[in-house]
Amino acid sequence: MESDTTTVVSSLAELYRTHRLALVRLAVLLLGDQPTAEDVVQEVFTGLHRSGRTDVSLAYLRVSVVNRSRSAIRRTIVNRKRPVPPPYPPDATPSERYELAEEHREVLTALDQLPRRQREVLVLRYYSELTYAEVATTLGIHEGTAKSTAAKGLAKLRTLMGGSR
């Protein structure tokens, strides 16, 4: 029994090392702040440890992160952190750095104003680069709903950002 437990912990640690970066990044985009995102991913693995499961796919982990991110949003106070400006490319000129930071800030601020479902669909589609079928599976919705939600989200982004540049 003890060796079984050791095997489970060892397998989970390996699974965590393999996928933690992708999962924390996904949770950051859904939640807006890294400490909570890290907590969410840790909770996913704690849940796996409790259930003794190690034979899970990245798709399963992604679903768990999305679901737990929803719970985390519910737990936390509504005034979420605004997205911080992303880092500059190392070879960008000062002017380019400023414009790029402003560009990303504008997009992320607009994204943050979307309803949760639209934000989830857009993050899974345009960051995780999932197909609509995969997005639908991850969120437990129909593929058509995923497509229409993405279309509404993009339309709202266009409006919020004052039209496409």
Partner: protein, 250 residues
């Protein structure tokens, strides 16, 4: 990919790239659940509980109100004399006990010996054997207490562990007397993502899934299907708002 899509993709990748692998902590399985960094104030939790109970009782659809719902007793109200334990479960590290009094319709749930919820002479609704069903996933831990009525309904009391690790009664749910299964799922509903999905069957009509928010808000039912395998997502039922009709049975 149009311009908005390119800008979105670029911004998301740039934000994600801020998270680097060397800055992430190692897996920590020694701590069951990590403390949330921000907590609801205790006062808000108490007020929320009161509001949830009021709303839960107020929003029960008339179709299920064949008898007046019993009142949840205040946590300080003990069950009647001759209380005895009829079920004991350890959930998320807490010992939950269901105590029943001399009358089976007077019962309460105690956590670590402290009364959390119960019915006091609950209008004919009695606790059957092993009335507690609990889940630790999804988080937070939560339970349903099943009570059977004399009529055609089953009354469920939703309990959940709040951010202060305190168990509280959150709402009352009503279903048909015969429930095939119940699952706890976090779903994309606007009020409260914590939902209970009940699988029920009506002779001659078929199967349907009924969804209640944990705070006692009735969210709707799926249309009838002739076999339960045709329910959305069976066996992992995950009906979405668009799958539900507000009025059941019609």
């Amino acid at each position: 990919m149009d311009n908005i899509e390119r800008r979105l993709s670029g911004a998301l990748k740039a934000r994600a790239d801020e998270v680097t692998d060397d800055a992430l902590s190692d897996l920590d399985l020694g701590i069951p659940t990590r403390t949330p960094r921000r907590r609801w104030p205790v006062v808000a939790a108490v007020a929320g509980l009161a509001a949830a109970l009021v709303i839960g009782l107020a929003l029960i659809p008339g179709v299920f109100r064949s008898t007046p719902p019993p009142e949840i007793t205040s946590p300080a109200t003990p069950c009647e004399s001759a209380c005895h334990v009829i079920q004991r479960l350890t959930v998320d590290g807490d010992s939950l006990e269901v105590w029943a009094g001399a009358r089976p319709d007077a019962w309460e749930v105690r956590v670590r010996g402290v009364p959390v919820a119960g019915f006091q002479k609950g209008g004919g609704n009695i606790v059957p054997t092993n009335p507690l069903t609990c889940w630790t996933m999804p988080s937070p831990a939560r339970c349903l207490v099943r009570t059977t009525g004399a009529g055609t309904q089953t009354v469920w009391v939703g309990l959940a562990k709040d951010n202060t690790a305190t168990w509280r009664a959150e709402g009352v749910m009503f279903t048909l007397a015969e429930v095939d299964s119940v699952t706890a799922i976090d779903m994309a509903f606007p009020r409260d993502p914590r939902t209970a999905v009940f699988t029920e069957r009506v002779e001659g009509r078929g199967w349907f899934a009924e969804v209640w928010s944990w705070d006692g808000t009735h969210l709707g039912c799926t249309p009838f299907v002739d076999t339960r395998e045709k329910l959305p997502g069976w066996p992992d039922l995950r009906p979405q708002p668009e799958d539900l009709v507000t009025k059941c049975w019609t």
